[in-house]
Subunit: 358 residues, 4 copies
């Protein structure tokens, strides 16, 4: 019941880290959208392991295979199934983890929940599941381009190093210009240095991703439970390692008075309804108001560290574990396309839902 997301543009993901394949079925993509495998691959490549020295050095091609739903590079309205084979899993030895409960991983909770688990590489709890989201999100983003809706995510903090400029001050076209995916170049350098140092220390570090959505029409989002920011929040919190979500003024806004926080309406020179400030983050009553939507997503440091840690095994006995192999010292740069994808999935669903409202 829990592997689907969306009400109209609905995705269902499948696959374990070291099973045969990871994939997604998209049900409800409108017919007639032109999309190529290369366009999907582009987003997968942004998420791919081994893309730089500050991500895991695992080599995975992660090549998308389109199983259904397209004909002559157009969506047909039927389910779109996309799949990536797990080419890298062969020959790995995970037997030392078969009975271990790694700290701050899902080994223990999966075992308790289901009574058994596929322990290889984290099984279903691996962040490898997110490649299915990125593939689906690439199709959603292509669709949104027709409406001139632009989603831009970037790393805004790594550990204690945070951007000093707001998204309005930044040049968002620079996001992919460095390996940490931060559009403020001088801060990006310090972030990269921190990640490299962390990696050398066999440790990991967390951070924050900011996302900005421009060009959203007025009226998206639903009152009551499916507020635009509530669905965005759920979408982001469903990404591995995420610990928090805030939009607009967020937690900082709780310290303001209403007279400071309220966004005054005015009519601009084009006759468009606008607000002079945007503490609302582009959303009022759960519905987009035409201003930029922006939010921040907190990522904890990756749980797998290349240091000895004390833990227990499934018999409850104390053991010592130490991460092996190639792992991300900082998940942030590879999480940027995941945030993009989840945001696109939320927006396309609301865009389609809005067609039924009046």
């Amino acid at each position: 019941m829990s592997n689907s997301f969306g009400k109209i543009f609905k995705i269902t993901t499948f696959g374990e880290s070291h099973g045969v394949a990871v994939g997604v079925v998209i049900d409800g993509c409108p017919a007639g959208l032109e999309i190529t495998a290369a366009e999907i691959q582009h987003e997968l490549d942004r998420r791919r392991p081994g893309q730089s020295n500050i991500t895991t050095q695992r080599k995975e091609e992660d090549e998308v295979i389109i199983l259904s739903g397209l004909y002559e590079n157009k969506t047909t309205g039927t389910p779109i199934a996309l799949m990536v084979n797990n080419t890298n899993q062969a020959g790995k030895d995970y037997s030392h983890l078969e009975h271990a409960f790694r700290p701050s991983h899902a080994d223990y909770t999966y075992t308790a929940k289901y009574g058994l688990r596929d322990h290889r590489g984290g099984g279903r709890s691996s962040a490898r599941e997110t490649l299915a989201r990125v593939a689906a999100g690439a199709i959603a983003q292509k669709y949104l381009q027709q409406y001139h809706i632009q989603i831009s995510s970037y790393v805004s903090a790594v550990g204690p190093i945070a951007l000093t400029e707001t998204y309005e001050q930044l040049n968002l076209s620079l996001i992919d210009s460095n390996k940490i995916r931060c559009p403020q170049p001088e801060v990006a350098e310090r972030m990269i240095a921190l990640v490299e140092e962390t990696r050398k220390n066999r440790d990991t570090v967390g951070g924050v991703i900011t996302c900005v959505i421009k060009g959203l029409p007025v009226g998206l989002g639903e009152p009551a439970f499916d507020k635009l920011h509530a669905e965005l929040g759920k979408a982001m919190l469903s990404i591995n390692a995420v610990k928090g979500f805030e939009y607009g003024s967020g937690f900082a806004g709780t310290k303001l008075y209403g007279s400071e926080h309220n966004d005054e309406f005015y009519t601009d020179e084009k006759g468009q309804v606008r607000t002079r400030t945007n503490h609302s983050g582009g959303i009022q009553g759960g519905i987009s108001n035409g201003e930029d939507v922006y939010f921040r997503v907190a990522f904890k440091p990756v749980a797998t560290i290349l240091q000895p840690q004390t833990s227990i095994n499934s018999a409850g006995e104390s053991i010592t574990l130490e991460g092996r192999g190639r792992h991300d010292p900082c998940v942030l740069p590879r999480a940027v396309p995941i945030v993009d994808a989840m945001a696109a999935l939320v927006i396309i669903d609301f865009l389609l839902r809005q067609r039924t409202v009046k």
Copy 2:
């Protein structure tokens, strides 16, 4: 499509602020639960307007009427419909707001979304909708008591005034002992003073509510999209005025190294699997691990202020508005039972879902 919440214990709310009634239908409540109208009323009274001088002075009885689903004070497995009549709406004049778009309210977005709106008292966008959630949550909480699951929410910050103690240090039985619903009495007094001063200034102030869930069995929550914290996050973000959600280490956790953040497992004297720290907030891989679940919810200052503000009307013309009547200078104390209710609704749904998993 957006007025329902939950997959198995599923609620659907209805009603506008100044329509005939506000209510809820609960579909999927297990049969055989003993519950009385008085037990539901108790939670509604915690949310009721006019309960103290720091909430709105509107007088509303908000008396619950049980329309269906109970027989001799037991749930029968059929839909439970609960309703509260809007006794207070008569005779109010809202014509000055018929064409106004109040700043940081949903007037503009509703009109854009639906092409029309019931403007009286905010219509459906009024926080009055949340009484339906509180009524349903009271039933959920009664059910959870059988499993010794305890949900405790409290005000942990008002504007800049924040608690200095963690939930482990606080006596949570003191929550309802003061009118701000803060279990650290000396801080509560300062919070109350701030709200009273804000009210005198005809302004409003925001804050933070912390929620702690104790006694949760291991295994609740679903991997992938319906992670326990993702559903909690959506639930909280769907409450009026909420701007952010974080659980466990939250945003602060992003500044830690993995070696600091990881929660080490051990087996306690009862043979129970435990963690020595709880940065995970009781959730790993989206599934409860048996530790306390805790999270923080950010509330913006109430948008209605008793000061003149510049805005526009539906013709796009500039107007001056000033809040009238009786409004909350700070929504936090009345939001505490709403956070309790939404948390209970999330937990009961996962508790029932878990029965189908193995």
Copy 3:
């Protein structure tokens, strides 16, 4: 989980026969539809007990109360809650049925399923639940009128007495011209005579309702599981006492060869794609093709008969039961508006879903 119907135009019904009220919440009705209580009441009156001597003589007003979702007689896009008070339930004595399992009723299965039941008047299993569907269906039908979609149901058989004319031959404006709701007057008289005789014999009789949907645009219905006829079938089979559903050529069509059954396409003088025959019942591959959609619904004889019957009580002991009071000797005439309503609910949902498809 089972008290909702529809994906976009979604209804949730509540209420027991002898509880406080029976009602419905409609979530997803498009905003801006003009509808009055009188229009809803008109359909409820077609279903009302006591409307003629061949229905139950119970007197129930069944007056609709609109709780939410309308403002100045227009839908606002928010949930529409409708309710009918159970004014007739007071003072009835149902204690003789408290522990009885009536033959071919749901007393036994409800008790087994839920562990308890509200036995008064059948509780939730009473066909009184269908008034909620009729109320919601009235709104759906009003919406469909804008698209010139016409739904016409009529009694086509009572016991062994069946119509001799097809729907194309009948004057469907005569449906409400007699108390059995059969548009072939001479057959209607014989049907009425049979029902009256059956009533005198303290027995009940079944029959068939035929429904025709004209004016449906091409393209409604979804391939795979939510085929137009699959949803219509589920909708009809969910009505109390229904035992079968067939559309187009139905069961009789199984005896034809493909060369006889296939519907040949041609282009008519208006350039419209048409078929020369309509064995397909207006649906191909689960999707409407622009021809009339028609189907037949089988109703068993009402289970409550005014004769002594042997049964058991909840202790498993043999007992003798005899129906008391005022019951329908034939449910068909009152079921006609229910079939209309359920058909309308299916069609409006597909109409709205189709807006998201391309």
Copy 4:
């Protein structure tokens, strides 16, 4: 939105007849079920083309590939993805059908609905989609075996040739003993002769499948909309070529009086509640009562016939079409495992739902 079925044990199918693959994702299968690829393959082989001279002579291996959700032949609680490659599609020339609307096929309605279609072999509208259902159903059936629930479907009529014995009189272990899948051998022979003759005449013929479910516990099915027979009806009507569904006394029962139709309760020697007759078809108020559930499903003759037929193309021009290649003269024997599968999918879902009810 329409390619999923089930609420807890939920399947989503994908794939076109001549795309890369056809498959299914099962979300919500309980963990810990032992199942092998061979067990799934067994059901696929019952549906496979080319299995006898009375089915299509197309050669398709239809070998199942398990992509995820199993570990060491046990379900893990994660999504189970199954896939069959379309090995047979290469080199076929379907260009003559690119613009044709075949009579009583879905070519026209798909084109109208989506604006385009994959015409090769019927694309998504091909009954090849049902192999995904059969694969998922095999897993459901394995699960139900643990509860001693047995589902038996068989061909009970081909054209005008119908069984003379009821399911109680038949030896259901004979179903697979002949190529038409009819457990009354002497009638089976006549059915086979009719199909062979029909094939020689380059025509097709319809028929009826009867399904019996034994061993169902009391209490499955939900009142109101998701009645057991309503879901079974939808499931069956969603199978290609199905035109009708009836359960228990069905359409014939409409001709009985209530005094004839009612099923009298008694307590059997084991203390079990039973009914002396079973016109109810094992279902009362939408809920199983412990008696056998049985129903009948009407299949129209296959639309593709090897005879010239008049139709139109997408330009609206008159054309002559003639089926080519290898097609089923009668779909019934291959539809038997599909009916089994859909029944199993309905039952497992209700079995799991029932765990949440009290």
